[in-house]
Symmetry: C2
Subunit: 307 residues, 2 copies
């Protein structure tokens, strides 16, 4: 038990905030966790499951006296939220976030941050397809990467304190610029989600195949896409609206590659298909070797019982 922050304020109480609370309590990293959520139902749930020590009706009240304030709402809300809390932030406090885009967050939040408060953007590369306070768990960040994108004015000791906190939550930490973050995540997260959503939407619109057939025969590949396409729609809308350039860039590359595959299929060019398919296995092996996925076949999914 090492208290790293006297008072932590979590603004927004979904999967990530709830997991921060569980992981923090596992090690006693915060003396007091103050919480805020816009919805009364979420506040009630958070109180019931005990992920906050105090719950507040306004973000302004939640951040009072907090040494560490973490924005955990969809990124589209950050600008207004930062404006609202700005006058109430404690001098010397660290303000950070968990948004999946970083350039837009710097653009929206920075103008509101008062002198003496240290805004250090961050992004835990962890999550599940579930949402809401009940979906959080203490192990979410274990051995996952947390990206910090410090700003030029950040005092090194404040950045270090925030890094230490995320390491204590279970993460590995890497620092990079916010522009580079947005490129990397456009490829490893935003494009895959877009493609998954699009595949599921395509399946929903094929008039020659019934919905029941799509579901029955999903185990041959499709169901893996539906998992990440079950993620929170509001959160993902905001991500795409706020990382437009990088997503369009990766999407352009994806479409080019796809045209090559399409042509190979049309013309029966098996060698092009085989070569491209063979390359993919190496990346899979790298991910397993890096501890970022399980090597168990089928994600270790056990066969399900007959209904």
């Amino acid at each position: 038990m090492t208290v790293m922050f006297e008072r932590v304020a979590l603004l927004g109480l979904g999967l990530i905030a709830s997991s921060i609370s569980h992981a923090s309590r596992r090690k006693g990293l915060a003396k007091h966790i103050a919480g805020f959520a816009r919805s009364a139902e979420t506040r009630e749930t958070a109180k019931q499951i005990g992920i906050v020590d105090s719950i507040h009706d306004t973000a302004a009240a939640a951040v009072k006296d907090a040494d560490l304030v973490i924005l955990c709402t969809p990124v589209g809300t950050y600008g207004a939220l930062a404006q609202e809390i700005a006058p109430h932030l404690k001098p010397g406090a660290i303000l950070t976030d968990v948004g999946s885009v970083k350039g837009a967050v710097v653009r929206d939040v920075s103008p509101h941050v008062p002198a003496g408060v240290h805004f250090i953007p961050g992004h835990p590369v962890a999550g599940t397809e579930q949402s809401g306070p009940r979906s959080g768990f203490a192990e979410l960040f274990d051995n996952r990467w947390h990206i910090l994108t410090p700003l030029p004015g950040n005092p090194p000791e404040k950045v270090q304190a925030l890094e230490d906190f995320w390491v204590a939550l279970g993460s590995n930490v890497e620092r990079m610029t916010h522009d580079h973050h947005d490129l990397v995540l456009a490829m490893t997260s935003h494009l895959p989600h877009l493609i998954a959503y699009n595949t599921v939407a395509t399946a929903g619109d094929v008039e020659t195949v019934t919905q029941s057939e799509i579901i029955k025969f999903s185990a041959a590949g499709f169901r893996d896409f539906t998992r990440i396409a079950a993620s929170d729609p509001t959160m993902w809308r905001d991500i795409f609206l706020n990382n437009r350039e990088a997503v369009l860039e990766m999407l352009g590359r994806f479409t080019e590659e796809l045209a090559v595959l399409q042509k190979a299929i049309r013309w029966g060019d098996g060698q092009t298909l085989f070569d491209l398919f063979s390359r993919a296995r190496d990346i899979r092996r790298g991910i397993i070797a890096a501890g970022q996925d399980t090597a168990a076949p089928n994600f270790g999914r056990a066969p399900t019982k007959k209904n």
Copy 2:
């Protein structure tokens, strides 16, 4: 223990054949399982792990006296294989297959099938990303769907006998035409694999993001694509070459939908994004309700230990 076939011949000894053997032995469905694989190494492994009662250097030898012959090699090999075994098939035998396409299989195999042998095409909608005889397991087919695409001349009792065998292996069985099969699977399996392969290939070619970054930050979505993109390249090359029309049709629809999403991102049309993303959750719920996937978040993947 109910013997359903005296002698079963498995031609090709990869994931599916090996799982058929394990599932069959779990219930004693075959008195003798004869195996053939073109590679000496695979034959040796199959012998070592005991998935066959006899192992043969030629397909012709393996099918001798077999009541049930199952083609378990990549679909591109079926034509030559059928031609090779045709003179050696036992009158009255059932010949089936496990190929992921069915129209092309009918085209390639049917001309070689001698009178008195019953060719009934089939496809177990089950699998993992792993290959080879060691990757098989008895539960692979449990509560998964097996699609039979009987041909007009098939005697009903033979189709029923094959259906009973797959049910005994753990499957649910559905019958449909081979054309419809190829459309359904183009959507639920072939398109997702193509998209997954393409996404992984795109990631491998982005010069502004390192391979190490792709791997480190894969947990945010990308890694789910790499699992199915780790499937056997030869098998998948053959599938795309042999279900060209249906795959190109689904790919066309996918590309149209993607253009709509791309435009919505470019023009900041959040409502279009939100509406499409919201639809995806329903299909996910349907798949879980149908027992075709686990509801555990993240596929129930436990967080991995720090290295």
